[in-house]
Amino acid sequence: MNPLPFFIDKLWLIPLFPAATALLMLLSGRWLQNRLISLLCCGSVFLSFLFSVGAFWQLLSLPGERIAEKILFDWIPAGSFLTSSGHLSSFTAQWGFLLDPLSAVMILVVSGVGFIIHVYSIGYMGHEGGYYRFFGFLNLFMFSMLTLVLANNIVLMFVGWEGVGLCSYLLIGFYFLRRSAADAGKKAFIVNRIGDSGFLLGIFLIATTLGTINFRQIPLALEEMHFSVGAPVITAITLLLFVGAIGKSAQLPLYVWLPDAMEGPTPVSALIHAATMVTAGVYMVARNHALYSLAPTTMHVVAVVGALTAVYAASMGLVQNDIKRVLAYSTISQLGYMFLACGVGAFAAGIFHLSTHAYFKALLFLGSGSVIHALGGEQDIRKMGGLWKKIPVTAKTFLVAALAIAGIPGLSGFFSKDEILWQSFAGPLGNRALWAIGVLTAGMTGFYMFRLVFKTFFGQPRYSHEVDHHIHESPRSMTIPLVILAFLSVAGGWVGIPAVLGGSNRFEHFLQPVFGRRADVVLAVNMHAHTQEIQLMIFSVLVAVLGIFLAYYFYLRRTDAPEKLVARFSAGYRLLYRKYYVDEVYDVLFVNRFKDAGTALAAFDLGVIDGWGVDGSSWLTRFTASRSMWTDNWIVDGAVRAFGFFVRLLSYPVRMIQAGFVQGYALSIVLGVLLLLGYYLLR
């Protein structure tokens, strides 16, 4: 085998750089200067990015199949066992990294966006306590995410998966003195556990069914064992894996943690809860596309869950007043798009949307962070307005991102979103209902994004006088990342211009070796219906523009209209504003039930374990102790005392002689002498 090119051979360094600095920060960051911390942490992520670019470049020039695996060592040797179908199998979980077009795209997005957000954090977190802790966690997150993406087997992927979950928990609860932040962290962690239990079961089922957990060998094993399309065990595996994806990627019904996750610092929301971690579920589904392709039932489930989540989350985003919460619902909604794409078999389109979404959603979050920074911590859009002139860089980049996410032609979001809509309409697994939901969501996206834009940057200022006093544009370390991301939000989609618009959708071709045949089928469909594709495209853009126009009408022209509308449909408004009461329903159905169960278990603990077990055993101990004390007192000591009594009894007569009278003794001496004398004389 030829030696691997340098950067591919050094693939394992990509996650290692941030891991090293994370370790350093968490062990000794307390004593380091902020400047040094920034340099080290951003530097390590930048190194990862450079190595990712290098690896990407060398992957392009690999001869033959664009796939490379770098195995460091055997991590868990599983030994041999019989799979459920009776094959003798022996696999080891390796600490190995897999570079193919899919993971190459992911490491570029993760390390690139990650680096930009690291730089932004220097400015944003500069005045906060726990600077080293923040960067330590952030680097730990980069390590976990890159491990997740680069893992060559599903167990190592799970390590990264749990690692990012942990970092998410730690960073949501970064301001852990604030009760709501600590609670939000716990909520995220617990809801993710529910999903992860499904993921874990899926892994076990893969191992026992296929006898391998390696991503390159799973398709081979599937082929070798001749699983038919729709085999129940494959459906079970994919459904279980999808439960994991639902938890991590905040889909119905496990999305509830993501809006609360906005308690974390804004760069965290941008990096973890928008650009990278929450897309891990999409990546995982795409990575296991070989399994999913064999389970049409699951694919339908994925598509339906994705579509429903998209429209459901968008509807809640329409009325929220917290700038970050609107973006959170938007993220859930966009993730729904990605799952919709995966569910209709357009994995490449899903990954494409993942990458463009990473750019513009990171930009939106960073922009909102910049707004919050400028307003001294204000997050309520009702108290903003008219900021366009005061913070121009933030405002302009934010507008670019909003245009991109709304799907205005030419910007990145347009290409990826319309690819998904088209595939869900015309793809082999798509249908009109899914498409209609997608388009509806696109309109709502346009509305809520521009509601944000107009309420934040235009109209009359609604903030107080003191706030007005120190509104300032953010420092350069924050605005430069914004500008870079704005550029990416515009140009990031140009790699995937569809054939119908004169492009060649290079992105999809690049990923084709990974997703294989299905992409070919999809492309073949594309060729047939160009006119229809263009019609649909125009329609969806019109819907998005309509959404934008409605936002303009409501929030700039007729500012009293929203209130009237709210008064008219107060029940509906309250339903949306209170987020469909899902949190309350979950509280009643699950959370409180678990609390009840906890109370019952506590009662059981007190009554049975403590009452019967502990108190009973202590009673038993005391009882046996008292019996044994009785034995000691009466049998053992009794024997001793009896002996003493016996000795005293014998000694009593002898003692009588010792009267203590000296003269008595003298008399006995005299008598003795007389006795002896008499004996000798009379002998």
Binding site: R655, Q658, A659, G660, V662, Q663, A666, L667
Partner: protein, 100 residues
């Protein structure tokens, strides 16, 4: 010359008086005095036999015993005074500390 048996008789009488004194009297002072009588009875014996046998050794012994008796009285009376200070009695039957 007075025959030896007379002296021995005197000695025996003295000894008997001393023994009876020791055994019967309750006052320790008198007991001590009686012990002196016993010792002196012994001294008489020693001196008589010394003269009869024509050896000085008996007289030397007698002088030793006189010295010894003096020392004994010193010690005995010292104990007696210490005892009296503690117990305010010189009665031997009230001083039964050696019992058991």
């Amino acid at each position: 010359m007075i025959p030896t048996s007379n002296y021995l008789m005197l000695s025996a009488v003295l000894f008997t008086i001393g023994v009876i004194g020791v055994l019967t009297r309750r006052n320790i002072v008198i007991i001590l005095m009686s012990i002196e009588l016993i010792l002196n009875a012994v001294n008489i014996n020693l001196v008589v036999f010394s003269r009869q046998l024509g050896s000085v050794a008996g007289q030397v012994f007698a002088i030793f015993i006189i010295t010894d008796a003096a020392a004994e009285v010193v010690v005995g009376l010292g104990i007696l005074i210490a005892l009296f200070r503690n117990r305010e009695t010189v009665n031997a039957d009230e001083i039964d500390l050696l019992k058991w």
